[in-house]
């Protein structure tokens, strides 16, 4: 199937790409949004002192 890729998506915070699959008539058969990033805050915050979390987790999103 023909495919249009929007990579990267822009003018927002974060990474993403959109794949648009077109059928033979050129209509949209399906569209997928993918997030090609992972940093792991959910795991690496474990073991940090609780009073430090307000200084670590704002770095999830600086916007």
């Amino acid at each position: 199937m023909a495919k249009i890729s929007i990579d990267p998506i822009t003018r927002l915070e974060g990474h993403g790409k959109i794949e648009i699959f077109l059928n033979d008539e050129g209509e949209v058969a399906n569209t997928y949004l993918q997030i090609p990033e992972l940093r792991g805050f959910e795991k690496f915050c474990e073991g940090r002192p609780v009073e430090e979390l307000p200084r670590i987790v704002p770095r999830i999103c600086g916007v």
Binding site: N30, G47, R48, R59, C61
Partner: protein, 323 residues
């Protein structure tokens, strides 16, 4: 004469560095007048295929923020290196690994398990994990692969300049832009910040560096005019490059090292450990054990922004595939 071409990119990042550039306020208009920004995902709609189509070294200046921890981030770092005359590691993540570098205290596997399976808010009954290739009825989808470890930009491609900070202060960004525009950049390889430590530049009253015990912030009320370290609050100022304007200290928060190690120091955490040990009173085994109890999460505090850049690099893993 054609205007210089500028690019900004974010790898394992939060957007804070891009916002810091925007926070130069009216200076951004001067930047836009001075150069053509040819790639900047937060603000402009250029795609990767536009960058791939550029001639090598056609980008005059590329500010690259974010750490490298996926195949896509490494690929784009190499792409922008090829297309750029000057590549700048912009911000603590690109310079030292940054907060995402804390992932080097854990493993890729532990992260995936926690994020996709164990986290209490998850609903993932089939235990699905992200895959590099996924078949869908219409075709196939690709995702980048995660590396075992987080790396700095320089560990992946050569870099001309380093602008530290989480994020770099907007006035430092303005200063660097002025240097670039007037052709007065410092020697290649420079870290564009102060040659002194944050501690040197701090204007708090310093008396004698002798500490009887360390406290966690809820255990004491500090005097806002006196050195935090001397009051028993762990402050990474002695092991951190200056140039940030003491913005954390001014908010009555101790330094956590986002400007990286000072000039001439190879390992920020080791420097900090040495600073702590040298000011603590008592050298008996009991005193040492007492100190160890009082310093909470030393590795995560002394290497908060710089684990990938340090001599430690990461926690040991039994088997490492790839990086």
């Amino acid at each position: 004469m054609a205007k210089p071409k500028l690019a900004l990119y974010w790898a394992a990042a939060c957007g804070g560095c891009d916002v810091a550039v925007l926070d130069t306020n009216e200076k951004i208009l001067e930047i836009a007048a001075f150069g053509d920004i040819v790639f900047w995902p937060i603000a402009l709609d250029f795609k990767y295929h536009h960058v791939r189509a550029m001639e090598d070294k056609s980008i005059d200046l590329c500010l690259f923020n974010g750490a490298i921890r996926s195949t896509e981030q490494e690929e784009i770092a190499k792409l922008l290196r090829a297309k750029s005359k000057v590549l700048v590691a912009f911000g603590a993540c690109a310079c030292f690994g940054g907060i995402p570098g804390l992932a080097n205290f854990t493993t890729r596997e532990e992260i995936l398990q926690r994020v996709y399976k164990e986290a209490p808010s998850n609903s993932n009954p089939e235990g699905t994990l992200p895959q590099v290739k996924t078949k869908v009825p219409e075709g196939e989808l690709d995702l980048p692969d995660l590396f075992e470890s987080v790396q700095t930009l320089e560990q992946v491609v050569p870099v001309e300049y380093f602008i530290p900070g989480c994020p770099p202060p907007s006035d430092l960004i303005v200063k660097v832009v002025d240097l670039y525009v007037t052709g007065k950049m410092p020697p290649v390889g420079s870290i564009v910040a102060s040659d002194k430590t944050c501690c040197d530049e701090c204007d708090r009253v310093k008396e004698e560096k002798k500490v009887a015990r360390f406290y966690r912030p809820h255990e004491i009320t500090t005097d806002p005019k006196k050195c935090l370290l001397e009051q028993g609050i762990i402050c990474c100022g002695p092991a951190t490059r200056g140039g940030c304007g003491m913005r954390c200290i001014k908010a009555n928060m101790p330094c956590r090292g986002c400007f990286g190690p000072p000039a001439g120091v190879a390992d920020q955490g080791a420097k900090m450990l040495s600073a702590i040990a040298s000011i603590y009173q008592g050298d008996t085994p009991e005193a040492v054990n007492k100190m160890l109890d009082e310093v909470v999460d030393p590795a995560g505090t002394f290497y908060r922004f710089g684990l990938p850049d340090s001599m430690l690099k990461r926690k040991k893993v039994a088997k490492v595939q790839g990086k």
